[in-house]
Structure formats: structure tokens, C-alpha cells
Amino acid sequence: MTTTTRTTNWIATAGLMMGLVAAGCSDPKPDTLYQRLGGESGINTVIGAFIGRVAGDNKINGYFFNSSVSLAKLQSCLVLQVGSLTGGPNAYPGTSGCRDMKAAHAGLGISMQDFTDLAGHLVAALQAAGVAQADVDTIVAAVTPTATDIVEDASNNRTVYQRLGRKPAIKTVIDAFVAKVAANPKIMGFFGATNIERLKTCLVRQVCSIDGPCNYGEEIGATTGEFEPGVSATAACRDMKTTHTGLMNGTNPITIEDFNSLVGDLVAVIPAGVSDADKTALLTVLGSFCKDIVKDGTGCPQ
């Protein structure tokens, strides 16, 4: 063998060896959506961001701002569900204790617009995480059929809550109501030294609980400060009797004329487009508290 031949062989061998080493150091391309999402860890990050977006949307966060809802459990179930949908190793619900979609959402009266808003946040969270659009589309296509098991109000009008316009619209009415009461000399004094933000939060939740997602008394506060100021798990909204103790138990109490003045202020701010039936449902909520506000319930509807 000549020197040139030996050198050529050496170079070729070295090149081959380098190629083999290089090939062994690089990761293989992920071949499942689950892997492309980053596995459980990546999905957990996306779901965490998704829950944050949902919590920041006052149109739908009412379903989650109740102490009976464990956000931690929700996150772990969603991670498992997305993992299962995208080729992950664990089936949903498996033995996780998570419920199927129908059972988990039964009786909540979720509307199509609730579902659409929620799905929009999932898409946004995926896109913000840099997930390829084709993969986002795949996930959306997998999630969309769950609407059949989740949505109970396809026309967005089955409940007073939906017809009023969900929490944002309720909040607008309550803001106007509280402003009107604060400017009514006959009754404004009863609200002196009151945490007005907490009052508004509790009133919104009270109306939301007529037939909507809020469970009055199950306030959680900590993560909801922006939308539900003044309340927390240890400072939940109180029942009317407790709230008015002192004002109705004193010797010179709140009377039916004062209560009617309060009702009149609420009547005055209900938007014109609200049906008579929904207006009555809204006012009946306030009316039902009469006996807890007016001493001895004198003059209250029986």
C-alpha cells in the first residue's frame, strides 16, 4: 500500500468515525404529539398557562372560583387528559380519580359560548408555548367533540345567568346599583364603613348563583383578587342575616320603607332589554332577603 493510499484510508475512516459519533450525540426527532409537546412536563406548563388565562376571563372564571373546585386537581386531570389525547402513556381517566367529561360537567349549565371561550384560551396557551399550528389544530380537533358531553345550553339562553350576559354584565348592573345606593341619602348611611369592593363581589356572586356557576359562600379570593376583590377562603361572603346583625336587631331598625327604597334602586338600573321574567328572578333574589334585613320581617312578602 502506498503512503497516499494509507493517508486516504485514514482520512476516510476518521470521517466515518466522526459521522457515527455525531449521529449518536443528536436526539431523534419526537414522533408523537405528546413528545412534541414536551411530555408531561411540557403539557403541565401549557395547562398551567391555560388555567391562568381562564382565571383571567371574567366571562367563564365563575365555574372555577368556588372552594369546592380544586384547581390543583383540575390541572392534574387536564394534563392527564391532554396527554391521553396526544399519544401519552396513560389513558384518561384511568385510575386517576378524574371524572369523564359528562360527569364532570353535569348540571353546570355550560353554554356553547362558555365552551368556545374556554377553547380559545387553550389555543392561545398552546400558541404562546410555541406549539406548531398543525399540532394546535390536532389538539383542537381532539377537544372539540367533548362539547357534546360538556355543553348543556347550546343557544346560550337557558338560564338567567346566561341571558343576563354572564358575570361581566351582572357586574355592570351591580356597579350601577351600588353607585345608585351610595347616592341615595335615605339609605346610603347603612353602607358607611362598608368594604364596597367586597360588597360588589358578594352581590355579583349572589346574582350569579341564581342559576349560574357561582356558589355563594364558596369564595376563594387568593387567585381572584382582580375580579373578586374583598373576599377570600377565610373571608367568604356571609348570609344576609349575619351581614345585617345589629342593623336589624337594634331597637331602631331598618324598616320596609328602607328596603323598598333599596329594591327601587335595583329596579332602576336593570337594563331595558332584560325580560320581565328575568327581572323578577333578579329582584326575587333581593326580595327573599327582606326578612333577614327588616326587623321581624315586618312588611316583607310572606
Binding site: 351610595a182 347616592a183 341615595n184 341619602p185 335615605k186 346610603m188 348611611g189 347603612f190 358607611g192 364603613a193 346583625t245 345589629g246 342593623l247 336587631n249 337594634g250 331597637t251 331602631n252 331598625p253 331598618i254 324598616t255 320596609i256 320603607e257 323598598n260 327604597s261 329594591v263 327601587g264 329596579v267 332602576a268 320581565d276 327581572k279 323578577t280 329582584l283 326580595g287 312588611g299 316583607c300 312578602p301 310572606q302
Partner: protein
């Protein structure tokens, strides 16, 4: 050897005492009443009169009201929020002290009841007279109204009356009486101030009484006075009619009086100048 121990004890005392003071200051601040900010009325038409039955909103003081109440032999009560809450706390304290005397509770629990609640600092005065016959309101009395509640609201005990209202409730079957009362009172205020610029809702008629929670409101509004005539169906309990004459919030309660004084001074000054 003792120096580090003394330092540690001093530090601990500082934290406990300082922390306690800071917490107390925070609690005191939280309990502080935030009073409304009263303002002068904006530019615009002023009410030619602030008469409310035998009183003048923005003028009549507590002494005048008390004198009238005495003359009418009415029984009226202080229904100020501060009074209600103070009475309630004193009631609770008396019950607690009785329990303490019987050994059924401790002094620490009683201590919190000795501290006034924030609502006891609210300066607003509400003087309410129940079951007042409409005829007692004088020449300007509602002619078709039953007995009702007369309410006087003062921002504080030193201010003139801000709001005078007469609220009455008609039985459900009295649709005609409600309509008569409504028309009578609307005519009265129209004669004084002109037709109401605002009527929200359906005016009651004898054959079509207001439904439950159906409300109609006629408003006459000036920059220093607002008159509201409101009728609302309350269902089985009947129909409530409320007539309120008040200096609107947040205008200062004495705005009508101050304006009159300022006008009088201007006129006097103008008269002096004209005579020179």
C-alpha cells in the same frame, strides 16, 4: 454572657411591641370612616323653591324639625346608623356583662364589645316618624295618601336637612287610590316646577295597577334640588309610593341656603351701587 441575652430580649420586645402597635394602627385606619366629599352645585338652573311640606330642604335645621314634631305630637325615632349600631352593641354588652357576673364568660370576650364599631362613627342623622297622617303635612299635604313614614336625613347634626320624604304603602286592591295619589302629587310638583322632564315607567291607572317590581318614577331635577315621585308594585303587600325632596348627592346640603345668601349680598351690593 448576659449581653447577647439582653440584646435578644430587647429585639423580641421590639418585635412584639412594635408589631402590636403597627397592627393596631392598621386596624384603626381600616375602621376609619371615609366621609363623602361634598361639592358646590355645578353650573345650571337652581330650584326656585326647596319647600318640602312645612320644611325647606337645605334650610331647615334639626331644632325646627323637632319643634314641628312636638307640635304635631308625633313619635319619631333616631334611626341613624350610628344610633342603631350603638344600641345594638350596648345591648350585647349588657347581656355579656350579665353572663360575666354569672361566671359564664370571660372579661376578654367582653372587652371587644366595649370598642365602638366603625358604623358608630357615621355622622349622618336619620329621623323617622312612622304612621304619620298625610293631613299632618299641612296645606301641601298629599290628599289621597294613607298614613306613611316621614323621614328626615341630615349629613350631620349641624347641617340643614338634606332630604325629606314621605313614603306610603297602599293595599293591593287600592289601584284607584294609587292612581289618584300619583296624579295629585304629579300635578302639585308640575305646578311648582313644570312638567317633569323625566318619567321612567308606566304611570299607574285605576284599572291597570303596577305589577310586582314594576316601578314608575317622575323626576324634577335642578343643580341644587331633586324631587322624585316613585311608585312601585311590591306584590301581595301592595304598592308603595315615595315622595322625596332632597339636595342631590354629592352637592353640599346647605347649597340652597348659601346660594340665597350670596344672591342677597349681590342684590344688596347692586342696590347700593345703583343708588350712588
Amino acid at each position: 454572657m448576659w449581653k447577647p441575652l439582653a440584646l435578644a430580649i430587647a429585639a423580641l420586645l421590639l418585635v412584639v411591641v412594635g408589631g402590636g402597635w403597627w397592627h393596631g394602627a392598621k386596624m384603626r385606619a381600616a375602621r376609619k370612616i371615609v366621609l363623602p366629599t361634598y361639592v358646590d352645585p355645578p353650573e345650571g338652573p337652581r330650584a326656585p323653591s326647596t319647600d318640602a311640606w312645612p320644611f325647606r330642604v337645605g334650610w331647615s335645621r334639626r331644632a325646627e324639625v323637632d319643634a314641628w314634631i312636638g307640635k304635631q305630637a308625633l313619635r319619631c325615632e333616631d334611626r341613624s346608623v350610628a344610633t342603631i349600631m350603638r344600641a345594638y352593641r350596648e345591648q350585647q354588652l349588657a347581656a355579656h356583662e350579665a353572663k360575666l357576673a354569672r361566671g359564664e364568660t370571660d372579661a376578654i370576650s367582653t372587652a371587644s364589645l366595649k370598642r365602638p364599631s366603625p358604623k358608630e362613627q357615621i355622622p349622618q342623622v336619620r329621623l323617622a316618624c312612622d304612621a304619620v297622617a298625610a293631613s299632618q303635612l299641612g296645606a301641601d299635604a298629599p290628599r289621597y295618601a294613607p298614613r306613611g313614614r316621614l323621614l328626615f336625613v341630615f349629613d350631620d347634626r349641624d347641617k340643614p336637612v338634606r332630604s325629606v320624604s314621605f313614603d306610603r304603602i297602599f293595599p293591593p286592591a287600592d289601584g284607584s287610590a294609587v292612581a289618584l295619589d300619583w296624579l295629585d302629587r304629579k300635578a302639585k310638583w308640575t305646578a311648582k316646577f313644570g312638567a317633569p322632564p323625566h318619567i321612567d315607567g308606566r304611570e299607574p291607572t285605576g284599572d291597570a295597577p303596577l305589577h310586582r317590581y314594576e316601578q314608575v318614577k317622575a323626576t324634577w331635577r335642578f343643580v341644587d334640588l331633586e324631587v322624585n315621585l316613585t311608585a312601585m308594585g311590591t306584590g301581595v303587600l301592595g304598592i308603595s309610593v315615595s315622595e322625596t325632596v332632597e339636595v342631590p348627592m354629592p352637592v353640599r346640603a346647605d347649597a340652597p341656603q348659601r346660594h340665597a345668601a350670596a344672591s342677597s349680598s349681590s342684590q344688596a351690593a347692586a342696590a347700593v351701587l345703583a343708588s350712588q
